[in-house]
Symmetry: C2
Subunit: 402 residues, 2 copies
């Protein structure tokens, strides 16, 4: 009997462990594999033969795993590059050593590219290993899906903080601006989702080239009209020439992405320097948004878990490889929410960035359309019953720390 | 029959509206006053005769008010200064115009000083008005109490974000530091509370003069030992000469406090510049901590509500003025939590800052003692049953926006 391997990659989310829980639980319900191994620190640890046997994880631990944020197996920034035969052969060596036939990889578009590359390579080299992707990303930027697990919970926390800080801001009389910064390098999904609360006056997205004068004119107009201006900005917002608004540091995180930060502070200073407001308050969601286990969306945690189940179920079919499971795009946003699960070729998920749709963006930084609101609202609906211990959501000891 | 007035002042909290709800509900249970007026934007609006009749607020709205963050009446930074007879006379004029005999003021130590000053002035001038304080502050820096309403919920969110971001941080292999910044200008209560999760490696408080070399040595030691260092710092941390660590802006908020920010970023850069880690992640809780209605502590919201009830009940006694209600200091931190309510002279609450106790601070930035942990743990216990609407905790329309 063959074994399987599951690993996590890229930035953690509030529900990435729910997908892991789904794979583990599916195999307890239908033991297609003799052992379910977890790869410690993604592909990085797998190449070093660092595995953890998850097969018999007790039901109580699985329940708590579902509400444990971050990557319980540990994650990595290491990218298994196409054409890197040394890494590929080493991976197969480790898999062989543990009789592993199938690898499940939970990650973003880089990881889905890895799934694609590995399955291609296996086919080309007559290697009988299979590779299956389970998507996650708070950025919500994968192409062929309605949304990505992890995003709805990040959006739900972003909405909760937007509404709470808007009420906080509204309690004062002194005219000042408020600028909330969200994660979102190339796509503004998370920033846009904040508009679902009805609290956002101006929205600055990476999808629209930033025009300083036009933006400041809108800030002035809001301040003139109401004495208030609550702004949400995505970290990756930039000028027409591609220059980021933020004056943040620019380092390399191993994937050739710029490391961003500080756009909210930059906008606030811009407004103060223009004499539109004397002061401003800045709130950066930063990592809190993606690790918000205390504010999981019920839709999100359920879907992340079920995608884990689904990936395991599909894998029982011998030819199933180079595929990724996902939630299909909704065809009618006004219909009651009813997620449809599908599986598709990893190549469709990999290396494309789905930006926030242009037709959903209102002109002049005025937010998003009703259709966009209809897209967001069901995703943040519902709250799971969280298991608390001593006033905190219970979490498991991460496997990479055991 | 006389009326009463209730107003809110200073920085909002997650439960300041629960105290307001308590006053309103108490008068529905025992109508000592004919009308309960809310002062819009604290004393600032009261002086302008901006009142809102809260007497008959429906029970459902009272329930939602308890979970509405920020100051539902609006707040102000205006300080009713001692000796400002013009303001005092104007206040009495407004109170007279609405047959108001008693004013409840919900606020921090500046507001408790206002309660003290007004009651003194009323006695000295034979004015038959009474002034009663209900404390709130996320800073937890009032002297004669065990803790202040608002602080436990801020601590609970701070703990939840500490644990979630620590798990996020732990998922990676690359050595970098993590620095979490909390509010806390002169007192490090909120920063210290993060240690209740067991996740904090180093703690930097305003109560200990910052020694850069000693601190960096500790960071180096943690990195050497585990490759990780999770740091929590209070915004007001400073060097021995009083200079703030932060390079943040220094403006005036009307109460002669410096406006701080950026200490986490400063510490991170200090560590990177010293070559101890190549990178670091910064998370600033900022206003999210004090507006965390989605993470209210059950202890906190219950006590805030009951202090509102208690203040109203005490006020039925004709001579009751210049007094503040509160939770008495615990005598035995190992005993089961059992809050004791009391009322004491406002002068004891006003203008003193209760810093985090020196004897609870471990040397070398190593966190806090077991006694301190025993102090914090019951405060963050329990979660109220939150009423959700469309995936968000329901909130009322603020009275200052009606």
């Amino acid at each position: 009997m063959a074994n399987c391997l599951v690993a996590q990659s890229g930035g953690p989310t509030a529900v990435i462990n729910a997908s892991l829980a789904g794979v583990i639980r599916a195999n307890q319900l239908n033991p297609v594999y003799d052992r379910v191994f977890g790869g410690i620190h993604g592909i990085e640890g797998v190449l070093e033969d660092k595995l953890f046997d998850l097969t018999d994880l007790p039901a109580r631990e699985i329940d708590i795993l579902k509400q444990t944020p971050s990557s319980a197996l540990g994650t990595c920034r290491y990218k298994l590059k196409r054409g890197n035969d040394t890494d590929y052969k080493r991976l197969v060596e480790v898999m062989d050593a543990h009789s592993i036939e199938v690898m499940f990889y939970i990650g973003g578009n880089d990881s889905m590219d890895t799934v694609d590359a590995l399955s291609e390579w296996a086919a080309a080299n007559g290697v009988a290993k299979r590779f299956i992707g389970i998507p996650k990303t708070v950025d919500n930027d994968l192409v062929p899906v309605d949304h990505c697990p992890g995003f709805p919970s990040a959006a739900k926390l972003a909405c909760q903080i937007t509404h709470a800080t808007r009420l906080d801001y509204d309690a004062y009389t002194r005219p000042e601006v408020f600028v909330l910064e969200t994660m979102g390098r190339d796509a503004g999904w998370l920033a846009a989702s904040c508009c679902a609360t009805g609290d956002v006056d101006l929205l600055v997205l990476p999808e629209v080239d930033f025009d300083k004068d036009a933006f400041l004119a809108q800030v002035q107009a809001k301040m003139d009209a109401t004495g208030e201006c609550y702004i949400v900005v995505s970290e990756g917002a930039h000028y027409a020439d591609g220059t980021y608004i933020s004056a943040g540091e620019s380092a390399n995180d191993g994937f050739a992405h710029a490391v961003l930060g500080g756009v909210a502070l930059t906008l606030k200073q811009m407004i103060v320097d223009a004499g539109i407001a004397q002061r401003g308050v800045v709130q950066d969601l930063s990592r809190a948004a993606r690790s918000s286990n205390f504010a999981q969306s019920l839709v999100d945690v359920t879907e992340a878990y079920e995608l884990g189940l689904s990936a395991h179920m599909h894998s029982a079919r011998p030819g199933f490889t180079g595929q990724v499971v996902g939630i299909a795009p909704r065809t009618d946003l006004s219909a009651p929410y009813n997620p449809v699960f599908f599986a598709g070729p990893a190549s469709q998920f990999a290396n494309f960035v789905r930006t926030f749709p242009e037709e959903w963006i209102l002109p002049d930084y005025q937010g998003i359309t009703d259709e966009a609101l209809a897209y967001f609202r069901p995703l943040i609906a519902g709250e799971p019953k969280i298991i608390y211990e001593n006033g905190m959501p219970a979490t498991i000891m991460p496997f990479n720390k055991r």
